[in-house]
Amino acid sequence: MNNAMRTMSAEAATVERYRGAVADSRFKRLWNANAPGYLFLLPWLLGFFGLTLGPALMSLYLSFTDFDMLRSPGWVGAANYVRIATADPKFASAMSVTLTYVMLAVPFKLAFALMVALALNRGIQGLPIYRAIFYLPSLLGASVAIAVLWRQLFAGDGLVNAALAQFGIQGPSWISHPNYSIYTLVALSVWQFGSPMIIFLAGLRQIPQDMYEAASLDGASKFRQFYKITLPLLTPVIFFNAVVQTIDAFKAFTPAFIISGGTGGPINSTLFYTLYLYQEAFGNFRMGYASALAWILVIIIAIFTAFSFLSSRYWVHYDD
């Protein structure tokens, strides 16, 4: 009896100790399994909470306030959004300038990129040199120097008009005329078709050569081959380029800022959305209003992207 009891309590103690050890090792295991991952992720996690999630929530809050950096933000409800939608001619103007820019620059850019990529994809001699030359403007294009150069090229007494004069054409002062200024910016963007071109080239490489051989055996013309083979098989790449370029065009800033001297003029004709946002936030210190503008931009880009993805179902061919 006594013996039995002693055995039992000893057993209980063992079990107890065992359980403790299990819990202990479970924690240790959990720690050992997860700590390295989170340690490696630490910088990104800090950045995500401190520089992305926190500020994004803050900006959403600020968009409902009249924050001006001097006084603490006061809640104004949806007033900013209402004013944007109904009583802000500059918003309407900036939106229309930006949409015009997107609708013109993106298709032309993609068309040039595709045309040059097709020309370069013919097993042509000197491909690396051509590719480099056509890509160079894309790489340099973001800098102030290029915007400055562009402003000079399209000035009233600039190079473009000097070239036109040789054909007897009297060109307008492109950058200081509200009817033309936007087109100089479109031209600048189209000039930088290099990176979509390189993506097109990579896409063209993926198309199996024997499809063309089979088609030409069947007597299909070059045009028909392009229309029936190249174009459909390239639609995923076209789609990708279109989405990337569109989002990028919505965010254009530097050229418009430099060419208009930060004003978006003449008569708001180059007032890009981001430039207007910058003016409101850092020129007029209407931080609350600018936050609302930023959120509207996000929503518009999201709608565009969603629409692209929905429409892609009808024209993008994925072979599977």
Partner: protein, 292 residues
């Protein structure tokens, strides 16, 4: 040309052309190349042209070469362009270090380590790729202003050490996944710590992607105008892009030679990166769709 296939073509010869056709394509491409390069060449030539000749000639060949514009331009405004170059260099180099370090750490965790919540955080990281910077711009500015960081390089550099360019994380994850798992599994068996695997195995094998990230980081930072425009207001802290813009505003219609000389100089680092790393840059774009 159509219909007759006499011999199997080597795969690199896409659509063999007839001689006249190929001459035509070359002529078009050469014409196009000249059109692409003309503005750049004209700017370089304007920078070495005698001042009175800059706007009278559309030719890219100057009648005489004169480097005095460079000397005049370099002196700049109250602050010389040497200062602007130095500031840009410091910011760009620190950005490269920050991006490569922080992004490779995060990418290693996502690509190679197992931990609870990995997929969740990975999805979040991908999500941040879609957020335009405008959304975080104003609160970030307020934050850095309150920290007293405005007019220093900190707002431009510190975020990079927190892997704020998530795009590079994504790029590196893709690359790390292509490295055989057996390597780090074997090392793990031998008792290697995660840190040693990252440092001794993964990084040395990933030099191409690290170089790509470094080169693009440098070029984008060097070209960046918006960040410096917001955070740097003291001319002593200006980057080359801000310096150039100020130079434009203050010397308009007076010193075109100096302006084009400094514009040309500002492009030189990017141009040399392009020259030396062309293949890496082009592969980077072709495989990942990086742009700008």
């Amino acid at each position: 040309m159509t219909g007759i296939v006499t011999a199997p073509q080597p795969p690199s010869d896409v659509n063999k052309r007839s001689l006249p056709g190929s001459v035509l394509v070359h002529a078009l491409l050469i014409g196009g190349s000249l059109l692409m390069l003309y503005p750049l060449l004209w700017m370089v030539s304007a920078s070495v042209r005698p001042e009175n000749e800059i706007f009278t000639s559309t030719s890219i060949f100057p009648s005489s070469i004169d480097f005095s514009s460079y000397l005049r331009g370099w002196v700049g405004l109250d602050v010389s362009f040497g200062r602007f170059f130095w500031n840009s260099l410091v910011i760009s180099v620190l950005t490269v270090v920050g991006n490569v370090t922080a992004c490779s750490l995060a990418a290693f965790a996502f690509a190679r380590l197992r931990f609870a919540g990995r997929n969740f955080w990975f999805a979040i990281m991908l999500g941040t790729l879609m957020i335009p910077y405008h959304v975080t711009l104003i609160p970030q500015y307020v934050l850095f202003l309150n920290l007293g960081w405005v007019n220093t390089i900190l707002p431009l550099v510190v975020p990079k050490f927190l892997a704020s360019d998530a795009f590079f994380i994504f790029l590196m994850v893709q690359f790390f996944r292509g490295i055989p798992r057996e390597l780090d599994e074997a090392a793990m068996m031998d008792g290697c710590s995660a840190w040693r695997i990252y440092w001794k195995i993964m990084l040395p094998l990933s030099l191409p992607v690290l170089a790509t990230a470094a080169i693009f980081s440098f070029i984008w930072t060097w070209d960046d105008f918006f960040g410096p425009l917001i955070y740097l207001n003291d001319m002593n802290t200006y980057t080359i892009q801000l310096g150039l813009r100020t130079f434009v505003d203050s010397t308009s219609a007076s010193d075109w030679g100096g302006l084009f000389a400094m514009s040309t100089l500002s492009l030189v680092p990017v141009f040399f990166f392009f020259l030396f790393f062309q293949r890496l840059l082009i592969e980077g774009i072709a495989t990942t769709g990086m742009k700008r």
